[in-house]
C-alpha cells in the first residue's frame, strides 16, 4: 500500500497518541473517491431500475405524507405546497438516515479489507456518508422539479440563490452530523455488535424529534421544544423551508446556540472514539 506522497520514513509504533488524522486522510483522497465510487456502482448494479430508486423512494414517501397528513388530517403547511414541504423534510432526513445507517455498518462490512490492508480507517465511514450524498444530489433533481411545477422558481432571482445557499448550509450541517454519529457507531459496532439492534430504535427516535412530518411551531410544551432545538436536523430543515418561498432576504430560522455545541461535541466524541479503537480494528473486527 504505497502511500501516495509517502513520507520517506514510516515509523510504526504502538498507538497511543490522539491525532485527528485529516492530513493523512488528505493523502488518501483518491482512495476515498474510489471507495465512494465503488459503493455507488455496486449499489445500483443489479437493480433493474437502478438509480431511479433514489427518486422513487422519496417520491413514494412524499405521496404518503401528502395523502395522510395534508389531505387526511388536514395539517397546514403554511404557504408552501404540501408536496414541496414534505419532500424538503424527507430529503434531509434521508440524507441523514442513510448516512448514519451505512456508516455505522461500514467498518464491519469492510472487515475483510481492514484485516488485509492498511489505509486510514476513517476513509470507510466517510465514504459511506459521501455515498448517501450522491443519493441526496439525485433527489435534489426531484425537489427542483417540484419547485418548477408549482412555479416557485421560474427565472433566476435572488430568492433562487437564497434557496441554493440554504440547501448547501443544510447539507453541510446534516452531513457533518451524520458523519459524526455514523463514525461513532461504526467504531462501537466493531467491538459490540449490539449496535445493530440499537440502531433502528435510535433512528426511529430521531425521526420523531425531527420535523419531517410537522412544523416545529406546533410544539407547545417548552421542554419538548428545547429537545427539538438540540437537533441539528431541525435547524437544517427549517432553514430550507424558510427560504423556499420567494423572498428577497435570506431568512435564518430561530436558532439556538445549542446547535453548534451539539455538532461539535458529537464530532469530538466520534473522532476520539474512532481514533482510540482504530488501531485494533484488525484484531477484533
Amino acid at each position: 500500500m504505497s502511500a501516495p506522497e509517502a513520507p520517506f520514513e514510516i515509523i510504526i509504533k504502538p498507538k497511543s497518541v490522539f491525532t485527528l488524522g485529516w492530513k493523512e486522510l488528505w493523502q488518501y483522497r483518491e482512495l476515498l473517491y474510489f471507495f465512494t465510487w465503488k459503493e455507488i456502482k455496486v449499489r445500483y448494479k443489479q437493480a433493474a431500475l437502478g438509480i431511479l430508486w433514489t427518486l422513487l423512494q422519496p417520491l413514494a414517501m412524499m405521496t404518503i405524507f401528502v395523502l395522510l397528513l395534508a389531505q387526511g388530517m388536514g395539517l397546514k403547511t403554511g404557504n408552501i405546497p404540501a408536496p414541496v414541504y414534505y419532500l424538503c423534510g424527507l430529503l434531509i432526513w434521508n440524507l441523514f438516515n442513510h448516512g448514519v445507517t451505512h456508516a455505522s455498518q461500514s467498518m464491519v462490512s469492510n472487515a475483510n479489507i481492514i484485516k488485509k490492508i492498511y489505509f486510514p480507517r476513517l476513509v470507510i465511514p466517510l465514504s459511506a456518508v459521501l455515498t448517501s450524498s450522491f443519493d441526496f444530489m439525485i433527489s435534489l433533481v426531484l425537489f427542483y422539479g417540484l419547485l418548477l411545477y408549482y412555479s416557485i422558481i421560474n427565472s433566476f432571482s435572488v430568492a433562487w440563490l437564497h434557496l441554493g445557499i440554504s440547501i448547501l448550509i443544510a447539507y453541510i450541517i446534516v452531513i457533518f452530523t451524520a458523519f459524526s454519529l455514523g463514525t461513532f457507531l461504526s467504531a462501537i459496532n466493531v467491538k459490540y455488535r449490539d449496535v445493530r439492534y440499537v440502531l433502528p430504535f435510535l433512528i426511529q427516535t430521531l425521526f420523531f424529534i425531527t420535523p419531517v412530518m410537522y412544523d416545529t411551531s406546533i410544539i407547545k410544551q417548552p421542554w419538548i421544544k428545547t429537545i427539538l432545538e438540540l437537533n441539528p436536523l431541525n435547524f437544517a430543515i427549517d432553514l430550507i423551508r424558510n427560504n423556499i418561498i420567494n423572498s428577497s432576504t435570506f431568512l435564518w430560522p430561530e436558532w439556538s446556540f445549542w446547535v453548534p455545541v451539539v455538532i461539535i461535541l458529537l464530532y469530538i466524541t466520534a473522532i476520539y472514539t474512532f481514533r482510540k479503537t482504530e488501531a485494533y480494528f484488525a484484531d477484533i473486527v
Binding site: A3, I11, K38, I113, V285
Partner: protein
C-alpha cells in the same frame, strides 16, 4: 546507508481464545465481576522481542511453523495492526500482498476491479491508468475485462488479482503465500515476476511461505520464527536447515488437540516409524521411500465396524488424497483401552513440500474423532523413479507409477 527496514524489539500481545473476536455488550457486562475480582484474561505474546534489519535490495524469507508469528509480523510491518511494544522504521514505500484480490467485488467488472483494487493497494489513479494495459496483459483475461467478476472462474480472478498486486510501485514488498494462485503455468509466471522484482528491480522483499524451495530460490537471507521468538538472520540455506532440524519430531501428541465427534474413541498420539518399523524416523521423509505411521488411540467401546481415514493436504490446504480403511479388503477392530492403527506406505508418491493431514474415525457409522491438521510432515525430495535424478517441484504434488512405450 541506513537499513531500509529496522525492526526494533517488537512485541505483540494477543488475548487468548474467544476474546479476540467481537463481543456483545452482555459479554462485557457479565465479565465485570471477573475483572473486579482479579480474574485476568489470558494473554499471550504472539511476538517476543523481534529485532532485525534489512538492507535495501535484500530479499528475506521468513520461515516458521503455522502459528509461530510470521503472519503477525507481516501484519505489523504493513501497519494493519500495531505492535504492543517496540518500533519499526521503514525507509520506503511499502506494498503488502498479504492476500491478493482484497476488496474485489463480484458485481464490478474486471476493469472496475483493477481500479478499485489498485487504489486500495495504494496506487494512484494516474498510475493505474498508465499500467492498465500491462496489468490486463499479464493477467491474460483481456477478453473478459468488461464482464462482471462474478462470471470469472476462480483462477481468472486470482490471476487478475495477482497482476494488480505485481504492478505496484514500491521499494519494499511484503508477500504472504500469494504465489499459491492459478494453474502451474501462471504460477511459473508469478515466480518469474517475483524473481525480476527482487533481482532485477532491486526491491526489498520480505517473503513468508511454507514453500522452502521457493524461499530458497527467491531469497538471499532467512529468519526463523519459533513460538514468537526470532532466530538471527542468516543466509537462507542455513535458516532452512535450522528450520528442518527444528521441525522434525517423530511423535505428535494430539491428546489435547481440538477435535470433533463423540470421542468415545480418541486418538492420543501419532508416531512416525522407519520403514523397518523398528527404528524411529522423523517426519522428514523422502519421495519413493517406505513410511509407517502409528495412530494410538484410547477407546471405551469395542467394535469391528470401523472407518478410519487420513486426508493429506498440501501446505495451501488443497486435498491431495484420502487414505480410507474402506478402500481396503481387511476389516479393522477396536477394543476397549489403548490400541493403535498402523498406516504403511510402500513408496511415498508425494513430491517435495510440506503436508498436513487430518485424521478421521467412525465407529458403527458414528463420528468418534476428527482432528484437522493432526500432524504434518515434510517431504524432502528423493528419487521416486530410481533414475538417479530428482524431479523439480512446481510440477504437481504426486508421482504416479507409469510407463510409456
Amino acid at each position: 546507508m541506513k537499513p531500509i527496514i529496522e525492526v526494533k524489539h517488537v512485541w505483540k500481545e494477543y488475548q487468548k481464545g474467544i476474546d479476540r473476536r467481537y463481543k456483545s455488550l452482555r459479554d462485557t457486562i457479565t465479565s465485570i465481576p471477573g475483572r473486579i475480582f482479579g480474574e485476568e484474561k489470558e494473554k499471550f505474546w504472539a511476538l517476543e522481542d523481534i529485532d532485525f534489519r534489512v538492507d535495501a535490495g535484500e530479499s528475506l524469507g521468513i520461515i516458521g511453523k503455522n502459528g509461530a508469528g510470521k503472519s503477525t509480523l507481516l501484519k505489523i510491518l504493513s501497519r494493519i495492526t500495531p505492535p504492543t511494544k517496540g518500533e519499526i522504521v521503514l525507509r520506503g514505500r511499502v506494498a503488502s500482498l498479504l492476500e491478493v484480490g482484497t476488496g474485489f467485488h463480484p458485481e464490478l467488472t474486471g476493469r472496475e476491479n483493477i481500479f478499485f483494487n489498485g487504489s486500495i493497494l495504494g496506487m494512484k489513479n494516474q498510475e493505474i491508468k498508465r499500467k492498465f494495459d500491462e496489468i490486463v496483459d499479464f493477467s491474460g483475461v483481456e477478453s473478459f475485462i468488461d464482464t462482471p467478476l462474478k462470471h470469472y472462474s476462480s483462477g481468472m480472478q486470482m490471476r487478475l488479482a495477482f497482476s494488480v498486486a505485481a504492478h505496484l510501485e514500491s521499494e519494499i514488498l511484503l508477500i504472504d503465500e500469494v504465489l499459491a494462485v492459478g494453474d502451474a503455468e501462471f504460477q511459473k509466471k508469478c515466480i518469474g515476476k517475483m524473481d525480476d522484482v527482487s533481482k532485477g528491480e532491486g526491491k526489498t522483499i520480505l517473503f513468508v511461505s511454507h514453500d522452502l524451495i521457493l524461499i530458497k530460490n527467491l531469497c538471499q537471507f532467512g529468519i526463523l520464527i519459533k513460538d514468537g521468538k526470532i532466530k538471527p538472520k542468516k543466509e537462507v540455506n542455513l535458516t532452512i536447515t535450522e528450520y528442518l532440524k527444528n521441525l522434525k519430531t517423530h511423535i505428535f501428541d494430539i491428546s489435547n488437540s481440538s477435535r470433533r465427534g463423540l470421542n468415545r474413541l480418541k486418538f492420543t498420539k501419532i508416531e512416525f516409524l522407519g520403514g523397518n518399523k523398528k527404528s524411529t524416523q522423523f517426519n522428514l521423509v523422502k519421495s519413493g521411500e517406505s513410511l509407517n505411521i502409528r495412530f494410538y488411540y484410547s477407546s471405551i467401546i469395542r467394535s469391528s465396524n470401523i472407518k478410519f481415514s487420513i486426508g493429506i493436504n498440501s501446505q495451501i490446504g488443497q486435498r491431495i488424497c484420502i487414505l480410507n480403511s474402506d478402500m481396503l479388503k481387511s476389516n479393522l477392530n477396536i477394543h476397549t483401552g489403548q490400541g493403535f492403527f498402523e498406516l504403511s506406505i510402500k513408496r511415498l508418491p508425494l513430491t517435495i513440500g510440506s503436508y498436513t493431514a487430518n485424521v478421521y474415525c467412525e465407529v458403527d457409522s458414528i463420528l468418534e474423532d476428527w482432528i484437522k491438521d493432526a500432524f504434518c510432515f515434510e517431504v524432502i525430495g528423493g528419487d521416486f523413479y530410481k533414475i538417479g535424478k530428482e524431479y523439480p517441484k512446481h510440477n504437481g504434488n504426486v508421482y504416479f507409477e507409469f510407463n510409456i512405450i
